[in-house]
């Protein structure tokens, strides 16, 4: 579960792909606030809104890492601040155990991070995104997808789309 199998070769123009699961009430709000304050942060993170960090199923993380994300960020309300009172306490245990399991299997710790970011902590959201992006960038592509068939793989000679780029009128 790491970059080692790539022989360290990082494709040109590679940008880390990171998914952030953010709870609606705190971190998503904080991310919105970062927008309202016109803060600037790297675009490598895409936010997926969930109602509560307690909704965060570890299986989503495996899916994301398996299918091509280089890093996963899970964010929720600070302990004690959960809109649903206790969701983040369960999330804290689950994510802690799960993170350790992933690291045990050889995932670099920086690739899966969990943070508590409140609705007011726009700056923390920005800083977290910046640091996660930089950490994952330093690690390089995760590339667990290599076992998943690349759809560009062998296909019959392409007779239809090949000349799409040259409209008939031009060639005539």
């Amino acid at each position: 579960m790491s970059v080692v199998e790539n022989n360290g070769a990082v494709p040109e123009n590679w940008e880390p792909k990171i998914i952030a699961f953010c709870c609606h009430w705190c971190t998503y709000t904080g991310a919105d606030l970062a927008g309202l304050n016109r803060m600037n942060y790297p675009a490598n993170v895409r936010v997926l809104r969930i109602p509560c960090s307690g909704r965060m199923n570890p299986q989503y993380v495996i899916e994301a890492l398996n299918k091509g994300c280089d890093g996963v960020l899970v964010c929720g309300c600070h302990p004690g601040d959960c809109h649903y009172v206790t969701g983040n306490y369960y999330a804290r245990r689950r994510m802690l155990i799960f993170k350790r399991l992933l690291e045990y299997e050889g995932l670099e710790p920086d690739r899966f991070q969990v943070r508590w970011i409140s609705g007011a902590e726009a700056g923390k959201f920005r800083d977290t995104v910046m640091s996660v992006v930089e950490q994952v960038r330093a690690l390089g592509p995760l590339n667990l997808t290599r076992e998943i068939p690349q759809f560009e793989l062998p296909r019959v000679p392409d007779d239809e789309g090949a000349f799409d780029a040259v409209p008939e009128e031009v060639t005539a």
């Binding site: 998943i148 068939p149 759809f151 793989l153 296909r155 239809e160 789309g161």
Partner: protein, 330 residues
């Protein structure tokens, strides 16, 4: 013509120049047919690999076609043909018999499975006869000669220090003709292979006809875990599922091994399952091995390789089942 065992390695080096050669070997702790090459040490002393050679013809996951959309937004389908010239060297007579079974399934009855057919056409089979048997081997009881596989392209009968080389097909003859650097014109006597595990198949097929509702199925199936181990290590189990992976509008349709032991296998949309319990599933599997296949294709679907006997986590043993059928008195 004989092939001295000392020369096998050189022969393999020769063969693997242009083709993928698969040999019995233990890789990462798993005994299977592995591509001959660096780090793969052929082991012809091993009686049976844990994993059968069926994935050379019928991979656990096989891409069938890829689909995408053209510039007008219409779907296009592009078939895969990933078959290539392969040699399986060191396959055992029991596993050769399993290829007979699979040939029947995939190549007859109105429809030829092109993916299997392509791979089969490009496969050269070099069978190595058995000089000794494992505790769980019972192929001779199932009509397989441990030193002879009639359908192998090349049969290598174990004669102690050397193999007696028999080219049995056109393909085999052409192949063996290329081996002169490694073979010698000599005769040798194949050693006899004694199997300790015996079952009596006499009358079992017919007797099973009347035993569909016999209580032995319940007694047997109750210890089954319904895992897929027996079906995945079985050289003749060929059930598959068809599924797809998607990426936006692109995707691949593939088939993959499936197991009749899984409840999901026959589960229909809407929740009805014609084989809801272990009883029905275990009965179907063993009936298929010992009766249904015989009725349809005229041969047993069990080749006596003993893999399931060895690997079943609960020792649900097909040889005991055959004994019980023989002893069954309605």
């Amino acid at each position: 013509m004989i092939l001295n065992k000392q020369k096998v390695a050189a022969l393999l080096d020769h063969l693997s120049g242009a083709r993928d050669v698969f040999v019995p070997a233990t890789v990462d702790g798993v005994a299977k047919f592995a591509r001959y090459g660096e780090g793969v040490q052929p082991d012809f002393g091993m009686v049976n690999t844990t994993m059968p050679p069926k994935d050379l013809l019928f991979p656990q996951t096989q891409k069938m076609y890829h689909f995408d959309v053209d510039a007008n937004g219409s779907y296009r389908i592009h078939e895969y043909d990933e078959s290539r010239e392969q040699v399986v060297f060191g396959i055992r007579p029991c596993d050769m018999r399993s290829i007979v079974c699979m040939d029947e399934v995939f190549l007859t009855k109105g429809f030829v499975d092109e993916f299997y057919a392509n791979a089969r056409d490009k496969l050269l089979t070099v069978c190595v006869g058995c000089a000794q048997a494992a505790e769980t081997c019972f192929c001779d009881s199932m009509g397989v000669d441990p030193q002879m596989a009639p359908n192998a392209d090349v049969m290598l009968q174990d004669c102690g220090d050397a193999y007696l080389v028999l080219a049995q097909t056109e393909k085999g003859e052409a192949e063996v003709a290329e081996w002169s650097a490694f073979t010698e014109e000599a005769d040798a006597q194949p050693v006899t292979c004694d199997l300790t595990l015996k079952v009596d198949m006499e009358g079992v097929v017919d007797k099973l006809e009347g035993m569909y509702d016999a209580p032995i199925w319940d007694n047997l199936s109750i210890k089954c875990l319904n895992c897929g181990t027996c079906t995945y290590v079985c050289p003749t189990c060929h059930c598959f599922d068809i599924s797809q992976d998607m990426r936006r509008k692109d995707g691949i349709r593939f088939r993959c091994w499936d197991s009749c032991m899984f409840s999901e296998y026959t589960m229909m949309a809407g929740g009805h399952n014609p084989r809801p319990e272990k009883l029905e599933r275990v009965r179907n599997r063993f009936m298929h091995k010992l009766n249904f296949f015989e009725r349809r294709y005229g041969m047993s679907l069990c080749v006596g390789c003993g893999r399931c006997v060895e690997k079943c986590p609960v020792a649900l043993d097909i040889t005991r089942l055959i004994d019980e059928i023989g002893a069954y008195d309605a």
